[in-house]
């Protein structure tokens, strides 16, 4: 058994920043991550980091843009924390050596991005995330923080009081990929989840193969509610064959979208009369799909993104990486021809419910980064707002977990106060009424309360789970189940959503769950058994898919990224609230909590969102 003050699960931008902060606040920290830190998907981020750094800009404007972009589903205290602290964090990164692109006077460059009222996106070429990730990892190496890489976290060790709000997280149980050993990690002060995105529930995604939403699923089964899960961002410019992202930076620099008829449809068909290509992502994605659906798509599948007019010099200076991506993954030379693009799953605005310090309702359990929902992005994230989220909330959670006093949170978590029960009429039974094998923590059983007993118990259960999966010898393989989930999500819970389709998705997910009961691991080896790990990930994908669909079915309005056929407008009087899904006795429970629109100095009154 390993013992530390703070355990950080995941070593992307959020996890690394949290570990550094916790260590600086005096804690003994370990990072446990299924990939080596530099392999995390933060490295794929291209466009940039928003920070109000310059004369003429300030954090309040940034907060306003963020709330507007979120279509007012974000919590103001969190959005304000993000925009207030982002400049400081960006400057900190610069002092740690991050290779930002520079202006002539040697200062960090900034460029315009969709939905921003000021060009405040700092960047490092079109490889901002790569530089951010490596810079942070360098600081972790410098500080000698222990990193357990290629250790897959199977579950959280959470006590099993009746109400999630009374539970405490005492550590995690992880599987060492190289050897097949299952070990426990006890955390004296806190566990910080930073497991990143969940794009693998879709089959066309900009996310990595490792982005399977493990953190969200584990926290969910430990009783922590998942918030606004239906809010999935589809990025308007991904390469059709692979889903590789073409950064928003291309449009930021002046790239233009054309349909098959050579029309600049963002303007000519009135999707965004003012901002055109730079309207926010949900708007552009829907515009593209509408073009395709109305027969003006190229090969009935995609549209063209053209940057040739920017000139070779500018492209090489600021967007060089894009040329390589287009060439390697689509065989297109961006200097000579327009690039084919279509919308693809990109980002989960929702996630593990946290306050603005990254705390969940379970004591000592934190979540930061894409897996969390502090709620800064609401129903639509602005480009360049995720990376600041990693560093701002990463730092906050790290410090808080290490015991720093950060004051009282303004965003409530758990079923405290003003909550509203929800109801849903699903076409099938949801969740795993048969008890599942997800290793749900709160599955009754002996009331373990001492930290040691909780950790031991979880370790035992997880060892059994692994043995059980290894033992089984025939049935279904995870790849089939995963493919079925991805198929139904892509077909039914995509950019355009319809009640019947959403219900169909629930039926499919239910069927997939049934099949998962017979899942088996074909590879008998204990050395580097990726078959086993993917089987466990698939279990998490099932829960994630269900949470997303439940949220999407519940929310009967059109807000931000969430579009419903029958409900073509934003309905603030009824739906200005967060969709919450929590795991209760093996099935999802739906409820709502209000959005906090009161910020430090102003209240963000919902306005019409037009670009």
């Amino acid at each position: 058994m390993y013992e530390y003050d703070v355990i950080v699960v995941g070593a992307g931008g959020a996890g690394l920043r949290a570990a550094i902060a916790a260590q600086e606040a005096g804690a003994n920290v370990a990072m446990v991550t299924k990939l080596h830190p530099v392999r995390s998907h933060t490295g794929a981020a291209e466009g940039g980091i928003n920070a109000a750094l310059r004369e003429g800009d300030d954090w309040e404007l940034h907060a306003y843009d963020t709330m507007k972009g979120a279509d007012y589903l974000a919590d103001a205290p969190a959005a304000e924390a993000l925009t207030q602290e982002s400049p400081e964090e960006v400057i900190q990164l610069e002092h740690w050596g991050m290779a930002f692109s520079r202006d002539d006077d040697g200062r960090v460059s900034q460029r315009p991005f969709g939905g921003l009222s000021f060009p405040r996106t700092t960047y490092a070429g079109a490889e901002t995330g790569h530089h951010l990730l490596h810079t942070l990892y360098e600081q972790v190496v410098k500080r000698g923080i222990d990193v357990f890489d290629e250790w897959y976290v199977l579950n959280l060790a959470v006590s099993d009081e009746e109400r999630p709000e009374d539970r405490t997280c005492h550590g995690v149980v992880a599987y060492e990929t190289a050897t097949g050993n299952v070990e426990a990690f006890t955390a004296r002060d806190g566990v910080i989840l930073a497991t990143g995105g969940l794009g693998q529930v879709y089959d066309h995604t900009t996310n990595a193969v490792a982005n399977t939403g493990d953190g969200v699923a584990m926290a969910y089964r430990a009783g922590v509610p998942a918030e606004d899960m239906e809010m999935i961002q589809f990025h308007p410019t991904t390469l059709p064959s692979t889903g590789v992202l073409i950064s928003e930076g291309v449009r930021g620099e002046g790239g233009i979208l054309y349909n098959d008829e050579g029309e600049r449809f963002m303007f000519e068909h009135g999707y965004a009369k003012n901002d055109g290509e730079l309207a926010s992502r949900d708007v552009v994605s829907r515009a593209e799909l509408t073009e395709v659906n109305e027969g003006r798509g190229i090969e009935d599948e995609y549209v063209h993104l053209d940057m040739r007019h920017l000139g070779e010099e500018r492209i090489l200076d600021r967007l060089e990486n894009i040329l390589h991506l287009a060439e390697d993954f689509e065989g297109v030379d961006g200097l000579e021809e327009p690039m084919p693009v279509k919308p693809g799953q990109h980002y989960a605005m929702g996630g593990i419910e946290t306050d603005e310090f990254g705390r969940t309702c379970v004591d000592s359990l934190y979540a930061v980064g894409e897996c969390a929902c502090a709620s800064v992005h609401g129903s639509n994230r602005l480009g360049g707002n995720a990376l600041p989220e990693l560093i701002v909330f990463g730092k906050r959670a790290g410090r808080h977990a290490a015991g720093d006093d950060l004051g009282d949170p303004q965003v409530p978590v758990g079923k405290e106060g003003d909550v509203e029960a929800g109801s849903l009429e699903p076409p099938v039974e949801l969740g795993e009424p048969w008890g599942g094998d997800g290793g749900a923590v709160a599955d009754g059983g002996a009331a373990a309360t001492s930290a040691e007993a909780v950790v031991e118990g979880t370790l035992e259960r997880e060892r059994e789970r692994v043995e059980r999966l290894m033992d089984r010898d025939e049935g279904t393989q995870h790849a089939d189940i995963r493919a079925a989930v991805q198929r139904t999500m892509t077909e039914n819970v995509n950019v355009f959503r319809e009640e019947s389709a959403l219900k169909e998705a629930l039926v499919d997910i239910h069927a997939a769950r049934q099949r998962y009961r017979d899942v088996y691991v074909a590879d008998p080896s204990r050395t580097y058994n990726t078959d086993l790990i993917q089987t466990i990930e698939t279990r998490n994908l099932l829960d994630i898919a269900e949470m997303i669909t439940v949220g999407a079915l519940a929310r009967e309005e059109f807000r931000g990224a969430h579009w419903r056929k029958q409900y073509q407008e934003r309905r603030d009087d009824e739906w200005l609230k967060h969709t919450m899904v929590s795991w209760s006795d093996g099935s999802p429970e739906l409820w709502y909590k209000p959005v906090v629109l009161e910020g430090e100095e102003q209240t963000y009154e919902p306005k019409e969102r037009s670009y």
Partner: protein, 142 residues
């Protein structure tokens, strides 16, 4: 628990088929360098027969009957030695040309055309060697 498989030297040596220009250049340069040192040592050994000649009777020397002159003459009359000399020339020329190439690379010149300059060294070596064969084999009795 986890073991691993060390593929060992055999497999490494088996990769020569996959070598690229720079690697061949490295191997050849190594080989030619070693041949040259080897030659340097033997060369000095042969030349030091001159020591006896120096103390020999001046008349013998004048008649070219001294040990040094005799040794050289005998050696030079052998075809093998002549052929080896051509080989030595090839080795030396390649080492010089590729050595020059390496010196330029050290100065940061021609990094992008390193493979071409290697091929050029090879071809030039070949040309020089072929061109000097007549000179080298001149007057040898078969």
């Amino acid at each position: 628990m986890s073991q691993s498989y060390d593929r060992g030297l055999i497999e490494d040596f088996g990769r020569w088929r996959e070598f690229s220009a720079g690697m061949w250049a490295w191997i050849f340069h190594k080989f030619t360098g070693w041949v040259l040192v080897g030659y340097l040592f033997t060369h000095v050994a042969v030349l030091s027969t001159a020591l006896t000649s120096a103390s020999a009777d001046p008349a013998t020397v004048a008649a070219n009957q001294d040990l040094y002159t005799q040794t050289i003459r005998t050696l030079e009359s052998l075809l093998v030695v002549r052929v080896l000399e051509v080989g030595l020339l090839a080795v030396a020329v390649f080492h010089i040309l590729n050595g020059t190439r390496l010196l330029l690379i050290d100065l940061g010149i021609g990094l992008d055309s390193q493979d071409r300059s290697f091929y050029a060294s090879l071809i030039l070596t070949g040309a020089i060697v072929v061109a000097s064969v007549p000179t080298f084999l001149a007057g040898v009795s078969l």
